[in-house]
């Protein structure tokens, strides 16, 4: 323990810091006359600001309790979760940015999609199955001066290309045993995030749902169509395709684990294996992380 009277701030200083509430799990049901709408969000709130005294002197003045953050998310969900997760995030972030000590409020949202259960002659008005094919991501930051940053994306999108993927021409040295391969499986659990042009999103009329849909369709289509000489090149191809399709996007980042599928050697059992039987593995895995920018962007 520090000796009595010693002022630790003579020797140390606070650096980067943020705090907040994570894993706020929120479900809303909007009860229209003839059908219900179901939303399922997991929200995280984080604040940055002048919290020196909180850390160094134990003075909680100006601290918004993380419990209050949670309450606020549920209260705002009552009336203000009427559109996109990005718009909801903006409402929340703008609210938190008004607190005196807060210089920047950051909201992260993962939205799970639920689909109406199909029924004879239509869809159930009030029964749902979780889609499970991907998560929609939204990230919003608002600073004291009103500056706004909005990112969106998809997570947990597990995809596989059964051809049009190769890996050749790489460096070979003493530790290289991987053969060059002209045709391999490419599998990944994709996470893609992208940033919208700040001037567009600050305006208030930006259609986040439409932009997200266009980006997602472009991602999906380029994923299916392109020939991949490497996961790195795939990121470039898919990232530029997203920006070609959606001019409001300034940059795209992708983090792709390369979930290796090894062709099984069946020759010990007297069988051939013309690219038909594979072991799927999850570790170790390649991990490729790259961001592609629009040149016109700042």
């Amino acid at each position: 323990m520090a000796e009595p009277g010693r002022d630790l701030t003579d020797d140390y200083e606070l650096g980067d810091n943020r705090y907040g509430k994570s894993r706020i799990r929120l479900v809303t049901v909007r009860r229209e006359t003839d059908r219900h709408d179901l939303r399922d969000l997991t929200v995280a709130v984080a604040l940055e600001g002048d919290f020196d005294a909180v850390h160094t002197r134990g003075d909680n003045t100006g601290v918004v309790a993380t419990d209050t953050m949670k309450n606020t998310v549920y209260a705002f969900a009552r009336d203000r979760l009427t559109g996109s997760p990005e718009a909801f995030g903006l409402e929340l972030a703008r609210h938190f940015a008004t607190y005196a000590a807060c210089s920047r409020a950051i909201i992260d949202i993962e939205e799970q999609r639920w689909l109406r259960i199909p029924e004879e002659g239509g869809e159930a008005p009030d029964a749902f199955v979780r889609a499970g094919d991907l998560t929609r991501l939204a990230h919003v930051a608002v600073d004291k001066a009103g500056g706004v940053e909005v990112e969106a994306g998809v997570g947990d999108l597990t995809v596989m290309k059964t051809t049009k993927s190769a890996f050749t021409g790489f460096d070979r040295d003493r530790y290289t045993t991987l053969p060059e391969v002209e045709d391999r499986l490419m599998a990944t659990k994709l996470r893609a995030t992208w940033g919208y042009r700040p001037d567009l999103v600050a305006a208030g009329s930006f259609d986040f749902d439409a932009a997200w849909d266009r980006a997602r369709v472009a991602l999906r289509q380029s994923l299916a169509d392109h020939f991949s000489p490497s996961v790195q090149a795939s990121i470039w191809i898919m990232g530029t395709a997203i920006m070609d399709a959606e001019p409001s996007i300034d940059w795209v980042r992708m983090v792709l684990p390369n979930l290796h599928h090894w062709q099984v050697d069946l020759s010990p059992y007297g069988l051939d294996n013309p690219g038909e039987v594979f072991v799927s593995t999850s570790e170790p895995h390649g991990l490729i992380d790259a961001t592609v920018h629009r040149r016109s962007a700042g």
Copy 2:
């Protein structure tokens, strides 16, 4: 350590036992001219039999190595994974049941579904996204004498009913604080398994895919349609609906966690909450497990 010369079997005896290989992850790609078919199975093999000497004397005679089980699964996948997971399981189980020491071979399969990525004018022939909405389950056991047991099911099916669910009239005592509720959310991650009539499945011509599809549709439809006075009653209703739809099924078992969604009290913030805003939780959770039998079944 036991003293020299002591025979532990004077004092102890082996009881129930089984061994095998779990988490055998298998992907197959069938390469037709114009499109690929993708399968993704996780297989477990277990054997029961006369393995007393293996345990009590360290005598491995007659032991099929679990590594051999794994190899066999991949080898069989080359030519024999052409239909349902149940049929593949039967091929494997019948093979393992021929080993001298094996009295019963058990195969468990979880199949992940992958969907072709939609493209302009159709679907990608060679690019897939994991569906993520449910897992198809198959369980096969074959005994030495040729007796066959086939079960199928669905797992990881996360569903929600936003109305038509109540919970009233239950016991109230000193420890009861839960109010009776006429209209609540019901959410669960459903696991349903069912057993087919042994005489039908042994014949070899049973259409497991069609039966599974009919059962799944009946499950989905009854899930959406029924009024639930309790999770227990829901199991009865959905289980009997499955058997009504598919006469080859003798019994249905369901294990349903009740994933509670608590309506948030927004009154501290001056807001009402007419069943619109909920906290979703995962623990603690109710857990309801019941089996429904067809009376005509043995």
Copy 3:
């Protein structure tokens, strides 16, 4: 949906069923003058009984709400969690077995161990670190007539033997490629459970903590000492060692995944590997499950 007037019980009947509350997470702090005692339990309650009308007619009479079960666990923890988890489980099970509809009450408990943080000159009286090396398991069932069943065990005990483990003499066939090996790593995440003699545990004075300690020490010691010709033989050896050490135990069940560690072939890089460098894997894994009984047991 069933047609109006149809009685589904003409065609179907309820089979095995149970229901309850799982993942009830409970922490208690006993505040002695000079130090605190910390307990951390995860409790599950399940009831079996005459619940036909609950399932088939939606009649909740006699249903103990799972919310009430949760409340009861916390209320009982106030005064009655003073000794072993088995004793706490018995208190709870005996309480639930008194409900009219309940024929059998089952309590499962996982206890996490926390250790006092070491300090200069002793241990912290009020600061703890989670041990993380194993989980203590307790399972109690009480039936209406007062019959009592108590099991205990350890879970999540991850262990490795770096020698004294072999696997030879097993069956070889077309699909066998595994070499025989006289010296291998054996690694597992062990789960062992055992049953106490019913007459001893019903008496009320049985010392569950002492019995658990003796069983655990015997398990640990036999694990370290024995030569393993197979995982199956290891179960026999460790199970009989536990019963040798603790006469109150009638049977021991072990479920051992065989977490394979493959010796890496370093020869492509001009290096030998005399059993020094291994890849640890988690899937696929062997899975060995066996129960050993004391002969004097019923």
Copy 4:
């Protein structure tokens, strides 16, 4: 798809990027005459550099395959994993930094601790149990010019203070319902990382194990001793204590989830609860992230 002849680099450019291999699971056994030493590391390799052509033109020249990275880790483990994980990371990073295209090589290591199983009269020479109480972390980056960055830390350290934790004086507004509390439980799954002075670690004789031990003891002791007015203040107190104890450390970062333990209201059952019975929860959770710097540091 991009139209033929279009050069995407006219419109887009590559930004930040890195790639590598994650989850390389490595176990080593050093076989001394009378006892074995067991190490268990999970290693990740990442490279940064001039990989523009890899992304934008599909040219893999200069790409070190992630499979080669994995092989290299195992090969280096043969002879060079003789000391601290930081030293092993430095060997690896310096090797990868020699590749022409690589401007910066980054190695992340998590080390699991295994303890010898206690035996009568000593410890087992060749049988181990996984400690499970924490993970040792090491992070090394080496750039082309030889610049070196070494960080260390602990992860997955789950701790609880049963008193000496308060939270009062925080902001109250419309959405605040949390009462001020002078005495609460504080529980967290702590992750602390710290940076060593570059001049010290580059020298080659730095004792990483000793520094890590001193830091860990200081962390543990300050954790147990201090009074916490908030999690933020705890980070300051523990971070400065670590740097007081270990002059080679320039900064400490801590990321602390606040795993809330709610005191149960037992009054509905006629019971008091003087801080004895709690619900432990994992979501939502507070999340506090702060870095403390030594003033003398750059």
